[in-house]
């Protein structure tokens, strides 16, 4: 038995400890973020705006020493600024002093960050109105569009078969993705995995792996797999499969995270075990969103499959690549027309199906 005075102290202590701890953590975060903000502003203003735009230097001189000096400077400025509790990051993490100085610095600095980012972006993109309206360019565009609007129907049969191949690639990738995605989604749903340390670690590791896979575009996966299993539809299918699993596992697990907690609580209160809770309280709530995501993904995969063909993933994309390489724009016109038509149809059908099941 714990004696009385201890128990009375205990919860208050936890509360104040938690508050102190979170304040400290927020300050550390604010310091780091401020250092980044300051460093970012200095680099952007100095390199992109001053050297590149104002002095018009083409090949910027680069030295690690210079970057290092700038970084050290930002560490001092950023830390001092965050510790004064008047910086933008302090405001973001809710630990800023509530006075006029804070209000002004935060507002001005936020606008400053946005402005230099926009200006630097404009410079880096090399935006040029002139080249859109140059005579030579316009003539080329006219030749190309002219050819494309008079498509060559002689290759219609071949294009049709290639198109069907593309649709099948997308379909098979989507179908095969379903079982692994289902299993993964339960292991990457926070609300199911947060309870103990082991499951939370699994959740965390899987999340990182899936994020990594998803951040690599299917186009890149297709390049990898066309080296691995050889150029052709199979490479395209695997590329789509990998990306579909990673993306849909995220969507599915978000659906799981968004379920009503009530039924889960109720089933858990009957003494059901974890598997039974998932099967009887979670699964009935997520079947429809899962179905809807999968159908939508098939639609996306058809579009992606056309692109993947460009790097040797088979189907209509490969065909498009070949004719484009030969500069036969009439044929290219036909292929683009077909892709547009099929994508439009798929879009329509998948929207209708998704509407119907809800």
């Amino acid at each position: 038995m714990i004696n009385n005075s201890e128990v009375d102290l205990f919860p208050q202590k936890i509360i104040s400890d938690k508050k102190k701890k979170s304040d400290k953590l927020n300050l550390v975060k604010a310091v780091l973020l401020d250092i980044f903000f300051v460093f970012y502003s200095i680099v952007v203003v100095q390199r992109a705006i001053y050297l590149k735009y104002i002095l018009e230097i083409r090949d910027l001189p680069f030295s690690w020493n210079q970057i290092f000096i700038l970084f050290v400077a930002s560490i001092f400025i950023g830390t001092a600024w965050a510790l004064s509790r008047t910086s933008l990051s302090c405001k973001l993490f809710g630990i800023a002093k509530d006075n006029k100085t804070t209000k002004w610095t935060v507002e001005i600095f936020a606008w400053f960050l946005f402005d230099i980012t926009f200006i630097a972006g404009w410079i880096v993109t090399k935006i040029s109105i002139v080249s859109i309206f140059s005579g030579e360019g316009l003539a080329g565009a006219e030749r190309l569009f002219g050819a494309m609007f008079r498509p060559e129907f002689g290759i219609f049969d071949d294009a049709l078969f290639a198109m069907i191949e593309t649709i099948y690639i997308a379909l098979i990738a989507t179908l095969i993705s379903i079982p692994p995605t289902l299993i993964l989604s339960f292991f990457t749903a926070r609300n199911l995995m947060k309870d103990n340390k082991i499951s939370f670690t699994i959740y965390y590791v899987l999340r990182i792996i899936l994020n990594f896979i998803r951040s690599i575009e299917p186009l890149i996966w297709a390049i990898i797999f066309s080296v691995w299993v050889g150029i052709g539809p199979f490479a395209g299918m695997i590329a789509l499969l990998v990306h579909t699993i990673a993306s849909n596992a995220k969507l599915y697990s978000e659906a799981i995270e968004g379920i009503e907690e009530g039924p889960v609580e109720a089933i858990s209160a009957t003494g059901a075990n974890k598997i039974q809770i998932v099967w009887h309280a979670v699964v009935p709530q997520i079947i429809l969103p899962f179905l809807s995501f999968t159908i939508y993904r098939w639609d996306i995969n058809v579009r992606m499959a056309t692109i993947i063909g460009l790097v040797g993933g088979g189907g209509i994309g490969t065909m498009l690549m070949q004719y484009q390489g030969l500069a036969r724009w009439h044929e290219v016109g036909l292929i683009i027309l077909m892709i547009a038509f099929v994508v439009w149809i798929m879009d329509y059908i998948s929207a209708k199906i998704r509407e119907a099941i809800y």
């Binding site: 936890i14 009957t270 003494g271």
Partner: protein, 253 residues
């Protein structure tokens, strides 16, 4: 004593101190009602009893056994002996009434059989029996979200009856129902309490219902017990202490 609670504290992760040293005990066969404003800790208290949440300190004894910090199989066994009914019914919407009721039995069914939904005839018989007790045996095959609120709550009661509970917890079971339906739902709790001798602990808002059904009342305010006694002893003064000076009693019949 079926339930003994001693010096129970609960501090949530966000720092909310929901229970501040609550102690009381419940005899077998009692109909205990917990009253108090929203946020006074009523729901936290009930959820600490069947361990949907883990108390921060203090002890909960159920049938003489300390269940405050038990885990795993042991915890599931205790949970399966305590039924719970919720304000929002918490049925599985797209499933039939019958399968919702059978869900109450999950604690004592095998994992595999419960997944392929292969249940023995006895389980079905029991489920129909529970539905008959709450008077909706004819709705067994209907999808549960097609029922009215009162009927859904009766299904939820039937689900908890499937557990053959020694203790039945009800977290504001009538708060989202109309007055007439509220009364009929409370009558089912009364019948279960009297006919089967099941101990009932119920969170309620309406004092007229409290006076009618409770054998004993506990009032919580800001996580502490400020009143414990017979329902008939709650007079105007107590009422104002529990619900604040501004409050006025609303009658529902």
């Amino acid at each position: 004593m079926i339930l003994e609670i001693q010096n129970l504290h609960k501090v949530y992760n966000n720092g909310t101190h929901a229970l501040k040293g609550v102690s009381f005990s419940v005899k077998e066969g009692e109909f205990l009602v917990v009253i108090g404003l929203s946020g006074s800790g009523k729901s936290t208290l009930l959820r600490s009893i069947n361990r949907l949440i883990e108390p921060t300190s203090g002890t909960v004894r159920f049938l003489g056994k300390d269940i405050t910090h038990i885990k795993g199989e042991e915890l599931r066994k205790i949970k399966s002996q305590i039924g719970m009914v919720f304000q929002q019914f918490n049925l599985i919407k797209r499933r039939s009434v019958l399968s919702n009721v059978i869900n109450g039995k999950l604690g004592s069914l095998g994992t595999f059989n419960s997944i392929i939904e292969k249940y023995s005839d006895e389980v079905y018989k029991e489920a129909y029996n529970c539905l008959d007790i709450v008077g909706i045996g004819d709705k067994a095959k209907v999808r549960s979200d097609s029922l009215s609120g009162g009927q859904q709550q009766r299904v939820a009661i039937a689900r908890s009856l499937m557990q053959n509970p020694k203790l039945l917890l009800a977290d504001e079971p009538v708060a989202s129902l109309d007055p007439a339906t509220s009364n009929s739902i409370m009558q089912y709790f009364e019948r279960i309490n009297k006919d089967f001798g099941t101990t009932v602990i119920c969170n309620l808002h309406f004092l007229s219902l409290v006076r009618r059904y409770a054998t004993r009342v506990i009032a919580l305010k800001a996580g502490e017990i400020i009143y414990e006694g017979a329902p008939s002893d709650i007079n105007e003064a107590w009422f104002k202490t529990i619900y604040g000076e501004e409050a006025e009693e609303v009658e529902i019949r």
